[in-house]
Symmetry: C3
Subunit: 252 residues, 3 copies
């Protein structure tokens, strides 16, 4: 028996480490042909390359306040061409498609209501190296059309990344301003606490305009994560940190 | 009494310093939910970070030749979370939404027909640090829907940036080729004049193909601005200039 | 007599060297006004600047597996403002618009079914330096609307780039991961062959997950090209190569 996939997708949002270049565009061409008229949005395309372990902790924050009816097509897939399965999740009314390499593990674990499928359906042809275009995008289109995924229902604990920590005390993403986004939800920290990072004591502030120019601070960002920033400066340069850098945070 | 906002928005164009990353995409998700079906275009997302003073002079040039019916959602907002107001402008048949920090001052001052509102309406919730997504995008959606902004009509001179110079003799933007876009309209300069910049004498040319490879020149760019370029080279590297650099231009 | 242009365009895909910045966005604004409702996708915007000679060999690979009904608006145009003609091609059921500077030469030469027009129609006004926005985008819109291009039919051999080599043994593009895409179709090489590049012997592999982390290999990429990559590393840094670098490949 193949579980039925719910309808109601209003739009597809792309979440990748593809960077600038043709890969996002090729996916959009495929989706425009398969689901004409459905809005397709590029939510983020500069995730840290090859690092599903970091993206796993940005992903639930990125989608936290997004409107209902969105399908998130997620690809950070260094093991493309290997044995990892293709997943389709429904998590608290949102859909996710991507590789079973941990990228979707944190979203799945935090969901109150989760349905996870290992997708059995395969297109007639896929390249060896671009499953975002050739496998995951067609799977997303099938979900939009309510078509059979030939799926095998999975229990949460069998998903890659299910046993990873609740929060990740590392830099998971550096944005274009040089702000350091951590994998730790801000409500896990005492808001009065100073952080000690790279030999500096970093105080909390509500937001940028409350600290002097050039000063480092941490705050709860608009996604709910602990973020370290420098007002009108680059925290990555000031602190010498980048994607994957450990942050010595005391989690409550 | 709240002034009525005109209808007739055909599309929204985004003008930000957000860079690559999730911020533009999150705004697009919000707009797709609030005004489904309305085209949303990313006009520019790599304005010089934190510099509304520079962007103010690129903005009127960027929108000069754009089709009617466009609402420009403009966010360069280093003071987010502080006291600056939210603005909605109608300027010569175009709409602008953004912070009252000078970003919209030059557009307003040059308009022949200007209506400016300080927007009083607020969403139920906004983050402290991402008003582009949480405040300005919902305001733009309300304009599209003809909904009340609870606006207070402002006179031009009360807008931030109204008293800034007519043109700005600085580099306001460096494009992907390394071309240096100034904040000076080309019709303010004598087209026969050589510019003296960074110790070099820089002649005028009509366009790229009229100067030798590797030569610096200035020309009126496709937006009407004085632009300094190097044919098939990078003017920013050759001249050692970047966003904010002063250009010793003699304005007529 | 002006040849009739076929209808049936479902979407426009943009292929440029414009990089981030306002140029792609300005084209999208123009197209949204001229052909409202037609999907416009950014396929690639970071082609090597000023290098139609390289892009000519990426282009047919990029479009190889794309859905029918797409018009490709292609602009790598260092000679803008000069004498090169504007082209409209129909090649094997795909449409291409761009400058006659070689950019479209390889696509044309490889087509089984080719119709090429030198476009005579001109808009009322064009800037000197931005024909992507002011000339090529309006031409694309006219094709979508089935309007007269005032075209002169050309024979293939009169197109720029028609006499360039069948494949180009150079790096034609470096993607965001640092992978080196060549201008050589993979079926031109012996798949058992090691490549000798930058003093290293580079073996073939099926895809990334089949070589150790940090190892260089070559493979047939998802576009059918010979690509040199390093598993979870940057081939451009490891090998010291970039756009235009010669690759000593023995073509069959």
């Amino acid at each position: 028996m193949t579980p039925k996939v719910p309808a109601g997708v209003c739009r597809i949002a792309l979440i990748t480490d593809f960077g600038p270049g043709p890969y996002v565009g090729q996916i959009r061409l495929v989706l425009d042909a398969l689901v004409p008229g459905l809005p397709v949005l590029d939510l983020i395309s500069d995730l840290a390359p090859f690092r599903p372990d970091l993206a796993a902790y940005l992903l639930p924050a990125l989608v936290r306040d997004t409107p209902p009816g969105t399908l998130f097509l997620c690809v950070v897939d260094p093991g493309v061409g290997g044995e990892r399965a293709a997943l389709a999740l429904e998590a608290d009314g949102r859909w996710f498609v991507g590789p079973d390499n941990g990228l979707l593990g944190t979203v799945a674990r935090r969901a109150r209501d989760l349905r996870a499928l290992r997708v059995g359906w395969r297109p007639v042809w896929t390249s060896q190296s671009f499953h975002g275009r050739d496998l995951f995008a067609p799977i997303a289109a099938r979900i939009c059309g309510g078509e059979d995924l030939q799926g095998q229902r999975l229990e949460g604990p069998s998903l890659a990344g299910w046993d990873w920590p609740d929060d990740l005390a590392r830099v998971v993403y550096v944005d274009a301003y040089g702000n350091l986004l951590s994998g730790v939800r801000a409500d896990r920290l005492d808001p009065q606490a100073n952080l000690s990072v790279a030999g500096l004591s970093i105080p909390w502030a509500r937001t940028f305009c409350e600290v002097p120019h050039g000063s480092a601070f941490w705050y709860e960002n608009a996604f709910g994560l602990v973020e370290i920033a420098v007002n009108q400066g680059r925290a990555d340069k000031v602190l010498g940190l980048g994607p994957g850098s450990a942050l010595p945070l005391c989690l409550g």
